[in-house]
């Protein structure tokens, strides 16, 4: 994923994402790639999707070392079950499904031990943020922490939908299939998720 920056009007830097297609054309593997020496075909899959899987795991779990373990485990599961992947789904969607199941299991066991309060979704229905207002960030280095804080304050479903829709290769239909609901339901919930995220993000400034 590449996100070149370009200076917008009034010296405000606007970051505009560009579309890429790693699934169709994975970047060339370096000869030093340890995975390519063991399994070149699987190394190409890893190369094309590892950033997306790692980022999803990182923001769902909120912990760097847990995300590292999860990414390793997700790709190992994918390797073991590669012959079961029938190609009727996009490989990114398949990897995301493994990631969601894995992270969900981890979070459930962690929450069972550590969390006793339930978040009230009705609070987020009436969030005062507006979807249209732009987000202004002074320090990019603080962005990760602020995003994590904001995502953590959202209901799990909103968090997941925002993370999935941020992947430009994922269509609403694919997100709907992954989250087991209709594409219309995804659109409706995303609207509320954006609003709730906007309100939460402003609080982290």
């Amino acid at each position: 994923m590449t996100f070149p920056s370009c200076a917008g009007p009034n010296n405000v830097q606007t970051l505009e994402p560009t579309v890429e297609s790693p699934a169709e054309s994975p970047p060339p593997l370096s000869s030093a790639s340890p995975l390519a020496e063991v399994h070149p075909e699987f190394a190409a899959i890893y190369e094309a999707h590892n950033r997306h899987v790692f980022y999803l795991a990182l923001r769902l779990l909120g912990d760097q070392s847990q995300a590292e373990d999860a990414t390793h485990d997700v790709f190992l599961k994918a390797y073991r079950n590669l012959n079961r992947f029938r190609g009727d789904a996009d490989i990114r969607t398949w990897l995301y499904r493994i990631t969601l199941n894995h992270c969900s299991n981890l979070r459930q066991s962690w929450h069972a031990r550590n969390v006793h309060a339930q978040s009230d979704e009705s609070v987020f229905e009436n969030a005062s943020g507006t979807v249209d207002s732009p987000f202004r960030v002074l320090e990019i280095s603080e962005l990760g922490g602020r995003i994590q804080k904001s995502l953590d304050s959202l209901p799990a479903e909103y968090r997941l939908l925002l993370l999935l829709v941020a992947d430009e290769e994922m269509s609403y239909d694919q997100i709907a299939e992954l989250t087991q609901q209709t594409a219309d339901a995804v659109r409706g919930k995303l609207h509320r998720a954006r609003k709730a995220f906007g309100a939460a993000f402003k609080k982290t400034a």
Binding site: Q13, E16, F75, Y79, R80
Partner: protein, 75 residues
């Protein structure tokens, strides 16, 4: 030149400089998705994951070939 106007010009130049300085640090994102995408792009995947994965896969038993009847039936 009038010293008063010179000081005003200097103040104005100083103010322009500081506003440019602070404005150049502001990054603007149009949506929550754009924000998340920028964060994803800035997030590096630790190389150690690939090394661990390569090690794990090298220790996996190689998959047994499918029997002929399974290949024939396409199951």
């Amino acid at each position: 030149m009038n010293p008063q106007s010179q000081r005003l010009r200097s103040d104005s130049a100083q103010s322009n400089l500081s506003s440019t300085k602070s404005a150049s640090l502001v990054h603007e994102f149009q949506s929550a998705e754009d924000l998340v995408r920028a964060d994803a792009a800035a997030t590096q995947v630790p190389a150690v994951i690939e090394q661990r994965l390569a090690q794990s896969i090298s220790q996996e038993p190689s998959a047994a070939p499918k029997p002929w009847w399974k290949r024939l039936l396409g199951t």
